[in-house]
Symmetry: C2
Amino acid sequence: MTTFVDLNVLGHYYCKLNLAIMSEKRLSLMDIAKSLNLSKTLVSMVVNNQGDEKGIAKKTQLLVWEKVKELNYKPNLMARGLRLGRSNTIGLIVSDISNPFYAKIARHIEKLIEPLGYNIIICSTDENHEKESRLKNLLKDRMVDGLIISTSQKDCKEFIELLDTKFPFVLIDRVMADIKPNSVYVDNFKGAFDAVTHLMNQGYVNIAAFAVSPIYVSTIKDRIEGYLQALRLNGLDHDKKFLKEIPFNDVKNSVKKELTQLLQEHDRIDALFAVNNNIAIACLDCLNEMRVKIPDDLAFVCFDDLEVFKFSQPSITAVAQPMEEIAKNAVDILMNVINSKESEPTTKQVVLQTTLNIRRSTVK
Amino acid sequence: MTTFVDLNVLGHYYCKLNLAIMSEKRLSLMDIAKSLNLSKTLVSMVVNNQGDEKGIAKKTQLLVWEKVKELNYKPNLMARGLRLGRSNTIGLIVSDISNPFYAKIARHIEKLIEPLGYNIIICSTDENHEKESRLKNLLKDRMVDGLIISTSQKDCKEFIELLDTKFPFVLIDRVMADIKPNSVYVDNFKGAFDAVTHLMNQGYVNIAAFAVSPIYVSTIKDRIEGYLQALRLNGLDHDKKFLKEIPFNDVKNSVKKELTQLLQEHDRIDALFAVNNNIAIACLDCLNEMRVKIPDDLAFVCFDDLEVFKFSQPSITAVAQPMEEIAKNAVDILMNVINSKESEPTTKQVVLQTTLNIRRSTVK
DNA sequence: GTGAAAGCGCTAACAG
DNA sequence: CTGTTAGCGCTTTCAC
C-alpha cells in the first residue's frame, strides 16, 4: 500500500519534472523538495538563508543549494508576495514619465532602491486626477509596498484616505495645502522669485510669464506667486496682464498662439519667465520661428534646467532643481515608513532649495 | 451544534469585519461573501462579470455589486495573478530610462497598454549585461506577462533560452546577430549612412565620428558601419582614424578629452557625427566651451533627434527615429504573442525607417 | 442558481 | 534537525 502510494507520488513527480523540463514549466519549491525527499519547509528556509538560524544541517543545506542551482530554481515572487503581504515593489506616479524632470527622478529612485531589493512601477497620469486615483488604487491592489507621488489632485481628500489607511507614501515635487503628509519638494516660490528678481536687476521691466494649467498644482501656483511677488516688490505690478496660462495637453499650439499675440499687442515686453521645461521648450521654439533674438529682443528664464541650456546659443538662464536630492529624500522617508513597524506617525516635510543658473539669455 | 458553529463563524466574521473597518485591513472576497451569506465562488463570478454567463440571478448579482460598492471591495491582484498565472504587467528593460529616447518610448508603451489593462515595470541596466540577465529573471519571477527589451547583451545565449521557454518578449531598438526573435528596430546603417552622405554632399570631407561603447551593441555598430561605408563610397577612407569610442559610463569627461585632442591634432576636421543623443549633448557642450563655431568651424550631425535641436542656435541636423511607431509595433507584437494560445511560432522583424532632419548645423 | 473544495507557490507556527 | 499543516486571496471544476 505504502509502496503503491509512494510510487504513485514519485510517478507523478517524475511526470511533472519531465514536463517541467520539456515545456519549461516553472519549478516550484515542491519540485526541488520532492527530488531530494525533503519538505518544502526545509527548502524554503534554506533558500531564504534561514538555514543556520533555523538550525538546518550544513549538509542538508548544501544538498538543497546544489539542487537549486542544478535545476535553476527561482522562487515565484508573486506567491511569496501574496504570502508575505508585500511585493518589494514601489509605485511612482507622475504626470508624464517622458518629462525629463520625472525621468531623471525615476532613474535616481531606481538606483537607490535597487540595492534594497526593490523594483519600481511607473505610471503617468496626464495631469488627470481621476486617472491618478485609479492608478493609486491599482498599484495598491498590486500590493506595492509604498508610493511616491507627484500629485495632480486638486483637493486632499484622497490623501486623507491614504493617511487613514496608513499606507506608506510620500509626495514629491507637488504638495497639497491643508495636509502635511511626508513630502519632499523645492521652494518653488523662492526659485521663481529669485529668477524674476534677477531679471529686474538686469534692467528688465515688462516681464511676461507663461504658466501651465492646471494651475492649482502647487508647484505652478507657487512659481506664479513668486513671479508676482517679485514684480510687486519692485512696484511693477502689471496685474497678471502679462501672465498667460497654457493648457497641459496643448502646450505647443497654445504657446504659439498666446506668445504671438502677446508680443504683437505689447511690444514693450522685454523678458519672459517660463514656468517649467515643457513651456520653456515651446516658447523657445516659437521665439525662434518668430525670429525674436534672445536676449537682445527678449530676455528668457525658466524653471527647470535642461542639459542643453548650458551650451545652447545663447545659453539659457534657468532655475535648477536638485533632482537627486529629491529622489534620495523621498526614498529614505518611504523606506523608513515601510520598515517602521506600526505607529511612528511622525511625518516629515523636506524643502530643498533651487539654484539659479545665470547664463546669457538674461544678460544684456 | 450547528448553531454553535454558525455563531462561531459569524462571530469570527464580525470580529474580522470590525478589524477591517478599524485598521483598514483589506477586504477579501470572503468578507463580502460572508456579509451576504453567499459563497466566495458566487461573488467572484459576479465581480468578474461572469454573472450572466454563469446564470446567476440578476437579483443576487445586484446584491453583490451593492455590497462591493458599499465596502469598496477591490480584488487583490497578486492573489488573482498567482491563481491565473499572469499579472497583467509587462516589463520594459532598457539601458537607462532617463535617456529621452527610452523615456519617450516608455511613455508610448504605457499609453498603448493602459487601455488593455496592463501596467509597465521599467528597469535600467546601465549597459550591464549581467544586470540585464538579473532583471530579466527578476521580472519573470514577478510573473510579468511579457518583456520589451532593448538589450545590452553581447551574445544571444540568453535569448535562445528565453525563446526555448516560449516566454513572450520582443526586442526593440537593438537586435542580435544570429537570432531573429520578434523585434522592432530602425535601419541604423541607412540612417547613419544618409547623415554622413549628406555631410559629404555639403562639401565636408574630414568627418569624425564619436561612438559610444560597448560598440558591440547593434545600433552603434550599424551606425558606425553606415558612417564608414558612406566614407568609403566617396573614396574618403580615413580608416577609422577619426572614429572615437566613448565609454558609456564616462561620456562627459571622455568626450571632452577625445574631442579636444582630436581637434588639436587634426585641424582639418570639418564635420562631426555623434552616434546618439548622449554623445551629441556632450559634444555640443564641449564644442561650446572650446568656442568652436557650428557650422562655420565644424559641421555637426547626430543620431536621435531632440526637441531642442529644432530651434537651438544653430539648429542641429539629426536622424530622427519614429519612437511612437517603435512602441506601437512592439506592443502589437507582444500582445499578439501573449494572447495567442500556444504554438504560432511565427516571429516578426519590423524594420522602420529614420528621417534625416536637415538643419543649420550642416549647411555651410 | 449556488456552494464546497482544490490548489496556484509560498512561509510560518507548531509538532515531533 | 526536519516535517505537517494551515493559510495568503483568488478562480475553477464539479457537484447538488
